[in-house]
């Protein structure tokens, strides 16, 4: 073999071998277990603690409210939709949940031009404004009058 070709073949082999070695050593351990990715990434994605506690956690203590809620129009609404993140309260009942103001009601019930026809909406300036919403409406039983 001519000397210049021999040198190049050697060099090429060295490059290819070091690539194979580098690839062997640097590929993450769990890569390719499920597919072309690190399988550990699945476990990592599942690791963080949930923030919202979920309806089930609320029902452990507040089944009575749930029963009332299911009778009315608000039956599809989750507790944390209005009351906010409840994880700390679920773990320790002494931690109180935040108060809900009128803005909580208006978020769904104020007319903004695109709400579907089935939801009851108000135009704030045309609506009776003598009191807070809860003065006339019962959030857990919207069909009833206090």
């Amino acid at each position: 073999m001519p000397p210049q070709i021999f040198r190049l073949v050697l060099l090429t082999l060295a490059i290819i071998v070091s690539y194979i070695i580098a690839r062997y050593l640097l590929t993450p351990a769990s890569f390719g277990q499920y597919g072309f990715y690190r399988a550990e990434a699945l476990a990592e994605a599942a690791t963080p603690e949930p923030v919202f506690a979920g309806r089930k956690a609320c029902l452990e203590c507040h089944e009575d409210i749930q029963e009332k809620l299911l009778k009315g129009e608000h039956k599809t609404i989750g507790c944390e939709s209005c009351h906010g993140v409840g994880r700390e309260h679920a773990q320790n009942p002494d931690v109180k949940l935040g108060k809900i103001g009128d803005s909580g009601c208006l978020r769904c019930h104020e007319d903004n031009g695109a709400r579907p026809a089935w939801i009851k909406v108000i135009v704030v300036k045309d609506h009776y404004r003598g009191d807070k919403c809860a003065g006339c409406h019962v959030p857990h039983q919207p069909n009833e009058v206090p």
């Binding site: 050593l25 640097l26 597919g35 550990e40 949930p50 903004n112 031009g113």
Partner: protein, 270 residues
Amino acid sequence: MKHSVSRRQMLATLGGLLAGLASLAAARTARGAVKKVLVTTKAPRGYDPHQHKWLMCFDVDKCIGCGLCVDACKTENHVPAGPMYFRTWIERYIIKKPEPGSGKTRGEVLVDSPNGGRDGFPPTTVPREEILKAFFVPKLCNLCEASPCTQVCPVGATFDAPDGAVLVDPNYCIGCGFCIQACPYGCRFLNPETRVAEKCTLCYHRITRGLKPACVEICPTEARIFGDLKHPVENDPIQAFIQKHRVHTLKPHLGTEPRVLYANLDKEVR
């Protein structure tokens, strides 16, 4: 090609390289071990991704545009604040009546999504009598069967998990942004803190614990329907939804085969 003067020197270089890589590998194994401990202590046990196929669907008629889902998503997943980072968002479509005598089926189409709908939607300036129809459309990752984002990832940092979620591996992503360009639905963004691509995970840490995704949990009208296609429960909402409605996907002509289905979608929604 330029280096290495003699064969002996070349061998020495190769030896050095090997030694370096060996020490690197040792460090890698050690790190892997640390991670494994973390995973086994904190992640939910006994979850087998092959036993599930998750799916989320939308009933456009039920969405009232309260934006609670957007807010819940940001809180649950610590999504960066700011109006350009969303894993899910709501769009408001207001389609005006056509000009009288114009012979058109519809007039101007106004679309907006202020802060992704996170703070709700302000009253529209369009007078009610000019509106032909109006509705809200929730958006999130379309969970494509032939996902263009995972196709273009150069390193395998984003992938279709066996349970149907499309995930990003934040510890492996190089932050090239190719997947963000490839997503036709604008569902991905580059996290300014971690400098990697980010997207909806279907709240992977919640669904693996038997909880619903935060947006589904919080949606007051059940406009978001979530379920497991492999294990339908009694009166499964997903099965009922697919049976009851004629469903449509976003941008079907792109051949991405989205699994996320919409009922009552309008042609103006892209």
